[in-house]
Symmetry: C2
Subunit: 412 residues, 2 copies
Amino acid sequence: MANSHEVSGATTVTVQDGNVTSPCGFTAAGVDAGVKKPGVLDMAMIQSDRPATAAGVYTTNKVQAAPLKVTREHIAAGPLRAVVINAGNANACTGEQGERDARRMAEATAGALGLQPQEVAVASTGVIGKPMPMGVIEAGIARLAGALAVDGGTVAAEAIMTTDTEPKTGKVEWRIGDQQVTIGGMAKGSGMIHPNMATMLGFFTTDVQIAPALLQKALQRAAQVSFNMVSVDGDTSTNDMALILANGAAGAPAIETEGPLYDQFVQALTALAIHLAKAIARDGEGATKLIEVCVRGAKTEASAAQAARAVAASTLFKAAVFGNDANWGRILCAVGYSGADFDPAKVDVYLGHVQTAAQGQALDFSEAEALTVLQKREVRVTVDLHDGDATATAWGCDLTVDYVHINADYRT
Amino acid sequence: MANSHEVSGATTVTVQDGNVTSPCGFTAAGVDAGVKKPGVLDMAMIQSDRPATAAGVYTTNKVQAAPLKVTREHIAAGPLRAVVINAGNANACTGEQGERDARRMAEATAGALGLQPQEVAVASTGVIGKPMPMGVIEAGIARLAGALAVDGGTVAAEAIMTTDTEPKTGKVEWRIGDQQVTIGGMAKGSGMIHPNMATMLGFFTTDVQIAPALLQKALQRAAQVSFNMVSVDGDTSTNDMALILANGAAGAPAIETEGPLYDQFVQALTALAIHLAKAIARDGEGATKLIEVCVRGAKTEASAAQAARAVAASTLFKAAVFGNDANWGRILCAVGYSGADFDPAKVDVYLGHVQTAAQGQALDFSEAEALTVLQKREVRVTVDLHDGDATATAWGCDLTVDYVHINADYRT
């Protein structure tokens, strides 16, 4: 799983096997509470053994699920000690009862762990508009509290999955002075995944000590170039949320100001977030391939990001990738409607290493070579706008017959 | 096919069977020129027997095909006499050669009909980034000129189809004074169809006499509430274009100023454009159902339109409709990310006549009743924002397994 990413043109950060219990001072658990089918893991909990500075980013959808309101309030109130998460029910469009239920999840978790409710963050994912099965949820919280373990990060990552086919986890390690420090993470994705959001569900833990404002800034930057650059289907969820808890348990010097220590932290967090974002794209509903779209030569990072996301989200290009069809015209077409600022007469397009267009016009490329690029499990598209120095990368997946089957949920 | 539409809350306009040769003074033709497979109709021509005032609206994609540039120039230069159209090749991303080819299409048409090149509009649709087969195109133009007929509108509508499964045509008739006047139209759609554009390919003819500025204004308004409110797959094409030719052949009084005569014209054109737009949505690639999304109670028409288009374009809701799944949460979710200005706590949602949510919260509705709504060939969604008086309607289609098959164009 080791996976290296160039971040901000600086040193390469290596993402290793690991999860939210990799940093010091964190335990986690996952149980089959019964929100989903019997026997399927559907609730998870993360605990820090000491108060942890916390930061969050949330969906930009105007319709926001109840847990987002509660978690925002609790992070604003100060450090966190725990996060409780359920799959199977989003607790969205559930009104005042939904808000009471989200608060009750924090209270039950606090009760079981001897904390204050405002020290608990709450996250939910699943179907919209159904009441929360609170009996099942509260029993699950009691079991989670009893199951917390220093090696619980793996089962926790499995328990937050919905239509994901595999858990998404990782860790990064580096040194602050002589002290090794770690960030661990887990995420779920799969459907209702689209760029113009805050993020999908992602949870990070770290034993670094860092000032709250810097932690928030670092998380926003990392989410911007990772989760916010992923699209599975163009639908932005009501429940997206990424959280980070920083508990300082490693005992390394605190990061109190911007500077080299902060930059290292941002690089490490960004590398892990990109690792998880790519895992989400690769495991998009029904996907058989990861699509990576790199736009370079843009006037601004915003234009590069708009163009990259439009290509990664293009229904027609995604269907072409599924079919191994070198239909590069759909790439240039998507850049054209992306809103990016560019000159169509300057654009070069590459499928893998095969250049298909130069200065906005078709080249007579080898269809056979393009086919070998498209048959791979990872398809890389490069678009050079020749209009500046800014770059951005977005990730998506192919559009397959299975995506339709998964989301049609046939009734007759 | 008779189809009535309430337009602007005013009198109901009835769209009847008819096409671009229904108005006086127009002939048309379609031939199998050989741009596509042998024996498949792939080129069309429309001619007016006298100079016709013309107006056009075009894609907002920054990448624009060569024919759009040529047609814009020719409309700016004055009245038109003819339109030449090919399917099978978009003449997009073809550079200077593409522009020369588009100009040559106008010249060849002008030569065959005894006109000036700037009296000819050119439109193309098909694959992006391939050189135009000009030998085949020029031979097709010669055949078209010889085949022009007063009953040629039907075959012309068939000849502009790409993955469309049926031609899309209609006409509206009304009186100006004692004189009957007519607008006829045809369109093609099917794939690469999405709201944030000028339009897809649509051609209107009318025997009304109307000032150029008013004709342009009327076409823009009609496109705004018809073609621009349709989505098949979220991809905005490089070749979208709608044109109207008004030749005055009916001999009715000219429409020279805004007022009742102009309003009647706008209503008639809008009704026909909506008829064609719905036909495009119904015949979207792989579609089995038409989805109509009505948003009411919005603060502004812009907000209503944003919300309606987001629901009609939501991949997840479209897949749910294919599966007869009453997943109304995906409707509210799409309104939430649409950018529309609204209060989530005020929103009511209906599937057909079945209310599924009130004030943003789930209702305990009958799944069986919702299923009967979803099993119909036309599924109507109503969203009431309870926030003002503005309304908008958008059209889309379900997302099916066949859409993926059509667009994957499998290579192995």
